[in-house]
């Protein structure tokens, strides 16, 4: 029983329970938390399904001005298309709780995707915030890159200029394309962890905590 496995499990549980007191993100260099979610088409999707492929997770909320900046400018769609062209899986995740601004049904999500002309493989709905907490997703946008072995390789911001203004994109460095390029070449990823910026993820406000939720 190693400390890590002991803690790992406890943390996962804590994360799943949306504990206000334990704030742990999944760590770069460690296995990314497994998940199973329903996508906007009602299909069940899991991380397992994409084993062997690089996966990008992008936390999103279409009502957030930071998300609007990156979709309004076409930046995110461009990154999604470039990734998919390299056989990389791009998944958007919405952890907005029911009743909070930006919460979507499958149909809403598909409408948004169409409006944005987005290219993600799937748009996953995580209303109860379990997966968001397991990854420690804090903001929209917040990006994670998982390699083919299921190890988390990047956790952080979309780029290095925190703002809501489209014009700032011109002087910003986009992190994920650089991570994907380094992964492909087998180089060290630098930076592999950055401070995400954006709107806070709108997790459920009331912790309807039930023990069974995490199989404790």
């Amino acid at each position: 029983m190693k400390k890590r496995s002991l803690h790992g499990f406890a943390l996962l549980c804590a994360g799943l329970l949306a504990s206000p007191f334990v704030a742990h993100a999944s760590k770069v260099g460690e296995p990314a938390p497994a998940f199973t979610l329903t996508d906007s088409d009602g299909k069940t999707r899991s991380l397992e399904e994409f084993k062997g492929k690089t996966v990008v997770l992008e936390w999103t909320n279409a009502d957030c001005p930071f998300v609007k900046k990156h979709y309004g400018s076409g930046n995110l769609q461009q990154q999604q298309r470039n990734a998919i062209a390299q056989n990389i899986v791009w998944l958007s995740v919405n952890s907005t709780a029911k009743g909070r601004e930006g919460n979507v049904s499958g149909a809403d999500a598909n409408k948004i995707r169409k409006e944005q002309k987005a290219a993600q493989i799937a748009y996953l709905i995580d209303e109860d915030g379990k997966v968001g907490h397991a990854y420690g997703a804090k903001t929209t946008p917040h990006l994670f890159v998982i390699d083919g072995l299921g190890v988390l390789r990047y956790n952080g911001a979309i780029d290095n200029v925190p703002s809501t203004k489209v014009e700032d994109l011109a002087r910003a460095t986009q992190y994920v394309p650089a991570v994907l390029a380094s992964l492909k070449k087998g180089e060290a990823i630098k930076p592999s962890s950055t401070q995400p910026y954006g709107c806070a993820v709108k997790y459920p406000l009331v912790n309807a905590e039930k023990e069974e939720d995490c199989g404790c």
Partner: protein, 694 residues
């Protein structure tokens, strides 16, 4: 004279009218640019400020916004020269569960200082062009920006503008004092430790909060802890989830009730600082934590011997040793085996606990007592021991004799099981010192945790070990005699008191009906034992059989009563504990957050019905008139968390303070001050001192 005054006032008002801009209304915010003085003086600096009035619950951000958000930006341009340096007032902390922000709500003023060039001398006025941008958030966020144009008369002297003096005073009071006292930081495992050296720091440093001005260093949502060290203070907080590289210098802000100290902590890379992943660094850094934990566990084990539930058992055993007299070698052997019994039992409980935790249960020390079945078993055990001690039950009978065989007499086996019994009866009592040692143990890898538990067991076994190992000591034990029988009978009464207490715990876990069920079961148990005893004296085998069958039926009835009692606990677990006394609210993470956000002082008491220390503290300290008064006067909200039954919320809360058992007392000062953890043994004085500390 009167007329002159009036004239002066009029002039002042007229002049003042120039020292601000129109209010700009944007989403959830009213803003304007104001000047501190009524005129601009060439060659001097002029303080202007972005005045912000946020809608209730909305806020804008500090230079480090925290986990989300954006810092507010201001650019002030005058005659082609622009400045954007904000003299940031000390921000407030906004806690949104796992997301923490630093910023401002209500009315705030962000000052910017501009130089008025000599070149404007001769002009009648100057105009400052101000551009500001911000992100305003409640739970949703809206970016905003505005342009302002501020025109001020140019004059040789300038007076303060009364209308904005309170706003500028607020900002001035909140200007952090830049301190050059020595501070360094290092990274140990997954923690950042900031060290404040020397005596120039405030003496109440532990009451201050630490806000990082840099990102990617401290985990904003984690609870940091202060510790007094030989040459100052250390503050330990979890490393940021986005930590990448340790900066050579990190700007930090210490705050306490709006006051601020701004400092630079230098990276101390001399002390094997390099982080992050890898068990080895974790373990190495734990070395110097392990020894104190072992010592504390040992001391805690020693204290356990004095607990009312344990003492009778040990005392009788000690007398047994005195009686055994002669054979020294055997005594030493039994002492060692007894110690082994204690240590093995502690390790077994620890292993079970660690195993369950590895399986994901949010459990802590004392978890056994959260299981109604364990309480039932303990009640029965203590009841039987009491009967035996009192001599009511002659423990020759086969059924009741099992325990007796195991623990009485002078065999190796009896020595071992006395050790087990001592551990079992001790488990409800988390003695002082033990709390933090066990908390430490459970947060460590297994091979660290088990030694701590072993040390606890050794501490508990130590008096007996010493007694058996040093023959000279037994001479001081009183000579055996008839008085021993009487003492033994006397000691039945503390055991019966323990039974009463356990019944009450069971009642808390279930209901009065459940408690009555267990009580009836105890009586039935006594009756069944009596029947068995009768059966032995009966000559006719058929009569003996009938008596035995009757005894079994009674036992079955007892078992049924208990099972239905335990079933009540399931039902009760569904409804939150409503039986909270007047003036005390039930603890919940949500409620605590709300109170903290509203800036109210909060006292948290984490307790459990089965925790004797907790009950004693409540009786002696927390329910005392002095403490009640102190709480009332300071408007402190008293939140009580009940861990009598398992509660993962509370387990995690305890964990956030490095604890794994109750009691835990935490005081959160008003206006979001750093929480203060009170000792595990309270007196009214200790509590009132903590509550009224400046």
């Amino acid at each position: 004279m009167k007329h002159l005054m009036l004239l002066l006032v009029l002039v002042a008002t007229w002049q003042a009218a120039c020292a601000d801009t129109e209010v700009v209304r944007t989403d959830h915010l009213r803003s304007r640019v104001v000047a501190k003085t009524t005129a601009a003086v060439p060659g001097q600096s002029l303080q202007v400020g972005l005045w912000l009035e946020h809608d209730p619950h909305w806020h804008t951000y500090w230079k480090n916004p925290g986990d989300s958000g954006l810092p507010t930006k201001i650019t002030v341009s005058l005659a082609g020269v622009s400045t954007n340096r904000i003299d940031w007032p000390v921000p407030d902390r906004f806690d949104l569960g796992t997301i923490v922000n630093y910023g401002y709500g209500g009315i705030a003023l962000l000052p910017v200082t501009v130089s008025i060039p000599e070149s404007v001398r001769g002009q009648s006025s100057v105009t400052l062009d101000v551009k500001a941008g911000w992100l305003i958030c409640e739970s949703e966020c809206i970016p905003g920006e505005a342009n302002y144009s501020l025109t001020l008369p140019v004059a040789a002297t300038a007076a303060d503008d009364d209308r904005w003096s309170s706003a500028f005073e607020w900002a001035a009071a909140r200007q952090p004092e830049v301190v050059s006292s020595r501070a360094s930081y290092r990274i140990e495992g997954n923690d950042v430790i900031v060290r404040f050296e020397g005596a120039s720091w405030p003496s109440d440093l532990a009451a201050w909060q630490l806000f990082p001005a840099v990102q990617q260093l401290l985990a904003n949502a984690a609870t940091g802890r202060w510790q007094r060290v030989s040459q100052g203070w250390e503050f330990r907080q979890q490393l940021s989830e986005y930590f990448d590289e340790a900066p050579a210098e990190a700007e930090l802000l210490l705050t306490n009730q709006g006051r601020g100290l701004q400092l630079i902590a230098h990276l101390d890379d001399s002390a094997a600082a390099l982080p992050i992943s890898g068990e080895s660094t974790d373990s190495v850094s734990s070395w110097h934590n392990l020894l104190p934990a072992l010592l504390m566990a040992f001391a805690g084990g020693l204290v356990l011997n004095l607990m009312p539930c344990v003492f009778p058992v040990l005392f009788i055993k000690a007398l047994g040793i005195a009686q055994a007299g002669g054979d020294r070698a055997l005594l030493v052997r039994h002492g060692a085996i007894y110690a082994a019994g204690v240590v093995v039992s502690f390790l077994a409980i620890a292993a079970l606990l660690l195993g369950l935790r590895a399986g994901g249960s949010a459990l802590g020390w004392g978890f056994q007592l959260q299981q109604p079945w364990f309480v039932v078993a303990m009640t029965v055990l203590f009841f039987l021991m009491a009967l035996s001690f009192a001599g009511v039950l002659e423990l020759g009978g086969r059924l009741a004799g099992v325990g007796q065989h195991l623990t009485e007499g002078h065999s190796d086996r009896s020595a071992f099981f006395t050790g087990v019994l001592a551990c079992v009866v001790a488990s409800p009592c988390t003695a002082p010192f033990m709390g933090s040692a066990i908390g430490f143990a459970l947060s460590q890898p297994t091979w660290w945790a088990l030694p701590v538990f072993a040390s606890l067991g050794l501490g508990m076994a130590a008096p007996m070990l010493v007694l058996t190992a040093v023959p000279a000591l037994t001479r001081y034990l009183p000579k055996p005699g008839a008085w021993m029988q009487r003492l033994r009978e006397l000691l039945a009464f503390p055991l019966l008191l323990t039974v009463a207490w356990l019944l009450w715990v069971f009642g808390q876990q279930t209901s009065t009906t459940g408690m009555a069920g267990l009580l009836a079961a105890l009586i039935a148990l006594g009756f069944a034992l009596w029947l068995f005893h009768q059966a032995r004296g009966v000559v006719k085998t058929s009569a003996a059989l009938v008596t035995r069958v009757a005894a079994v039926v009674v036992l079955a009835g007892a078992a049924y009563a208990v099972v239905s009692g335990v079933a009540q606990s399931e039902a009760k677990a569904q409804s939150p504990s409503a039986n909270v006394e007047a003036g005390i609210e039930a603890w919940s993470g949500q409620r605590l957050r709300e109170l903290r956000e509203s800036g109210q002082p909060v006292f948290v008491n984490m307790t459990a019905a089965w925790c004797i220390t907790c009950l004693a503290n409540e009786k002696v300290a927390l329910s005392s008139a002095a403490v009640k008064q102190a709480m009332q006067r300071a408007g402190i909200v008293y939140l009580k968390g009940d861990w009598t039954r398992q509660d993962p919320d509370i387990s995690r809360y305890l964990e956030s303070f490095g604890r794994n058992g109750v009691p835990l007392y935490v005081f959160y000062p008003a206006a979001g001050g750093e929480p203060v953890v009170l000792p595990q043994l309270l007196t009214a004085q200790v509590v009132t001192d903590a509550l009224t500390a400046p």
